[in-house]
Subunit: 221 residues, 2 copies
């Protein structure tokens, strides 16, 4: 029963956090939904924040591991010019969608976290989350730079952030917009296809020549 209680708490908390946010969800909401005793959260996890940390760990570590594994495979198979742009994009945005299908009824709820973590977790958890994502960001940034030699490094990073935002936002608002724009793609594989196509084209966009500041202004800061 021990592991079962822990899992029930994790499942319920993940669902409620994603729907209502971390601060707005009480432990009583969670234990009510999970049908466990209130004190069991503090018994198994210590604090509410440690519970959030456990949720993030459970979901994002396998996703990030798979992203890197897919990129490893792509790069080992590719020639000297590296993998194709679309394949890199697919390796980056695919795993969250695939883990959805496997997780079953949970939905893509946990992806809503991406857009919310920055405001929901304290500095420590936020830093831990960023640290884990950083290895992914570093690997993919390098792969993108290789595939897009005309872009400078900062621009690549910026565009990866764009992709993450597009993905997280689509998850977050997808339900609501589906109700209002009935012809928008609701099925997750269609949404994934749209995202890959959109993101690959966006990454490949020409970089506008940066506006150079006058030398006086540039040296003067």
């Amino acid at each position: 029963m021990a592991a079962e209680t822990k899992e029930r708490i994790l499942d319920a908390a993940e669902r409620l956090f994603a729907d209502s946010g971390f601060a707005a969800t009480s432990l009583r909401d969670i234990t009510g939904e999970a049908d466990v005793n209130l004190a069991s959260v503090n018994y198994h996890f210590g604090t509410k924040e440690a519970l959030l940390s456990a949720i993030l760990e459970r979901r994002f570590r396998p996703i990030n591991d798979q992203r890197i594994a897919l990129l490893d495979e792509l790069e080992s198979r590719a020639g000297e010019h590296g993998p194709a742009l679309e394949d890199i994009v697919a390796a980056f945005v695919g795993p969250p969608f695939h883990h959805w299908s496997e997780a079953g009824s949970g939905g893509l709820k946990f992806l809503k976290f991406i857009g919310q973590i920055h405001s929901q977790a304290n500095e420590e958890i936020r830093a831990a989350f960023l640290r884990q994502f950083e290895r992914v960001l570093a690997r993919f940034t390098a792969a993108f730079e290789r595939a897009l030699p005309d872009l400078d490094a900062g621009e690549v990073t910026t565009r990866v952030v764009f992709i993450v935002g597009a993905m997280a936002h689509a998850m977050t608002w997808g339900e609501q917009l589906a109700a209002r724009a009935p012809r928008a793609p609701c099925r997750s594989d269609q949404l994934l296809d749209s995202l890959i196509s959109f993101a690959a084209a966006g990454m490949a966009a020409p970089q506008l020549a940066p506006v150079r500041m006058p030398a006086a202004a540039e040296g003067g800061r």
Copy 2:
């Protein structure tokens, strides 16, 4: 002193809500930051949720008005094929950035709301926000469909959501990433250029032929 107090509350609340979220920010935090009395929030706004509503109204209505005004101007100037894709994108993503420069020290904090509203506001406020955005979405969807006749309507809507997400996410994580990837563009006009280039290319991406379900499955739902 009346209007001054109201404004001080709005400014402080906007800053704190964007940084820490709605539920995690107490009225005592806000009144402390604004240096006003605790009861003045309820006196001027009624409830905490009404305060959030006032913040959203103050920021997003002029932005959405300007978006539509810019699109009006583009369409009145354009020929029978409608405005260019990049111009439509610029009319959509530009106003939030420009209001930033005008607002001064506040930063782009209010843009963080976009990614958070769905989990921070109650159903009523969320609906009001969506309703106001819907007129923008409808106008721009139509303009995009005209500029991109190969895309079907649902796909256009989906991609607009991608753009909103990319914009909101870049604002949200921009500060943090700037610290870790020092060469990423920090100046807002550079970020805006990057976003316009990325989004226009993404919108113009080819639409993959949707996977047709077998007829039996399609008719069977």
